[in-house]
């Protein structure tokens, strides 16, 4: 997730504007789906992997950041060995790995604010058509990335509170207070957005 992956730095990738980086990621992902030979895909993995590892992160830290997706891709690869030919399984795994490393490179070097700015720019044509307010969509994405970890933390607190009272932790018991407290916070956050004058300029 962008929240956890972005790291400030001064590498060439950090200095590149967010728009071209996201466009390159989209284009590379598209192109890689038309490549079926394992050799160019392996080269793509080496290239994107090197790019990712040259962002100033230690190898351990770099792998830790992408571990959940990496494990999913490996499991997907193993499943593909059974479902399709081993060579096809290898190609699809290499393709996903190349996209993963490139995506991790982009998210590591792109701040949420820059990401929001690109998203807002992309949605401007829809705003002109009266479909959406572009800055609101950007803000909504920023809010999700900011507050999802808070909701997770609140969930953990509620679990602890149940344990401390000796009450067995059940999802249906947690959902009510979690939803109510999240909605109450949402009211405060909406008020803060108004007070800070972030919308409507």
């Amino acid at each position: 997730m962008l929240t956890g992956l972005h790291v400030t730095g001064n590498t060439a990738m950090h200095r590149l504007p967010a728009g071209p980086k996201l466009a390159a990621l989209a284009l590379a992902s598209l192109v890689l789906f038309f490549v079926h030979s394992a050799l160019p895909l392996a080269l793509a993995v080496i290239l994107t992997g090197t790019l990712y590892l040259r962002l100033g992160l230690s190898v351990g830290e770099a792998l830790r950041r992408v571990r959940p997706v990496l494990i999913t891709i490996c499991l997907f690869g193993l499943l593909n060995v059974v479902l399709v030919s081993p060579l096809e399984a290898l190609s699809s795994t290499l393709r996903l790995l190349a996209i993963l490393f490139f995506a991790a490179t982009v998210t590591t070097t792109t701040s949420i604010a820059d990401f929001m700015a690109v998203l807002t720019r992309l949605l401007l044509p829809l705003e002109r058509l009266g479909v959406v307010k572009a800055s609101d969509v950007g803000l909504a994405v920023g809010l999700v990335l900011r507050f999802v970890p808070e909701i997770a933390a609140r969930h953990a607190t509620l679990r602890e509170a149940h344990r401390a009272r000796g009450v067995p932790v059940k999802l249906h018991r947690l959902l009510g207070p979690l939803i109510i407290s999240t909605l109450k916070d949402a009211d405060s956050i909406a008020e803060a957005i108004d007070a800070r004058g972030i919308r409507g300029h």
Binding site: L2, T3, H6, T8, S111, I112, A113, M116, A117, S135, L139, G142, L143, L145, R146, P149, E150, A153, D185, S188, I189, E191, A192, I193, D194, A195, R196, G197, I198, R199, G200, H201
Partner: protein, 226 residues
């Protein structure tokens, strides 16, 4: 700013949060104290237009909080009880830039404005951190920086030292004392408002005392003892 309450009242259905109030405020530091539910926060929300008066009106330098809502919001800043709720973006520097950016500032000008505010509140080292990595006091300062960066004329604080330890409280008090901007501070922390030239005491939705800090605190203690 000249804050003027003209028989302003705030009620939610049958519940009166603030009884009709007429008041004129021009002081640079204004304290607001009172028991829980006495109408302090309702008063502050009426000042910056977050709440609309049910009757009467509130003006700031002649701007009506209802008719000129946007201008009032732009001229004021509000620090909420939970500063975590008003930090909207995951990185402090980005969040501070959000206000001026949404007002059309960009490039070098935006960068300079943000860096100046970060330096002013001693947040340069913390600018790349995420809100959950900051202490309570640092979080208050980050929220204050995000407000000050918009250059408001008046800043309202709703219990800014609530739940802070002594070190963080001192950090926030020093920041408030150092502000050039006019400030209204709602607080249960009586030492915070003791030196203020004007302190309002609210009780059961009404203004019951209006005067200097020490006398206001004495009146508040009487009310709390009953």
């Amino acid at each position: 700013m000249h804050i003027l309450f003209d028989q302003a009242e705030l009620s939610y259905g049958p519940v009166v949060a603030l009884k009709p109030l007429s008041l004129s405020l021009r002081e640079n530091r204004i304290g607001v104290i009172g028991l829980n539910g006495s109408g302090k926060t309702s008063f502050a929300r009426l000042v910056n237009g977050l709440a609309k008066p049910s009757r009467g009106k509130v003006t700031l330098d002649g701007l009506d909080t209802v008719a000129d809502e946007k201008a009032v919001m732009a001229a004021t800043g509000f620090i909420f009880q939970n500063p975590g709720h008003q930090i909207i973006l995951p990185v402090i520097r980005d969040d501070i830039a959000l206000g001026p950016r949404s007002r059309g500032l960009k490039g070098r000008e935006l960068e300079e404005r943000v860096e100046t505010v970060l330096a002013r509140f001693g947040l340069v080292e913390l600018a790349s951190r995420r809100p959950h990595e900051l202490s309570g006091g640092q979080l208050q300062l980050a929220a204050l920086a995000a407000v000050v960066v918009n250059r408001p004329k008046l800043i309202l604080f709703d219990e800014p030292t609530n739940q802070l330890d002594l070190r963080n409280r001192a950090l926030v008090k020093a920041a408030i004392d150092g502000l050039q901007e006019q400030a209204i501070v709602i607080s249960h922390d009586l030492d915070l408002v003791r030196d203020f030239g004007r302190v309002l005491v609210f009780h059961e939705g009404a203004l019951v005392f209006d005067g200097e800090g020490p006398a206001a605190i004495a009146r508040y203690r009487e009310i709390a003892a009953c």
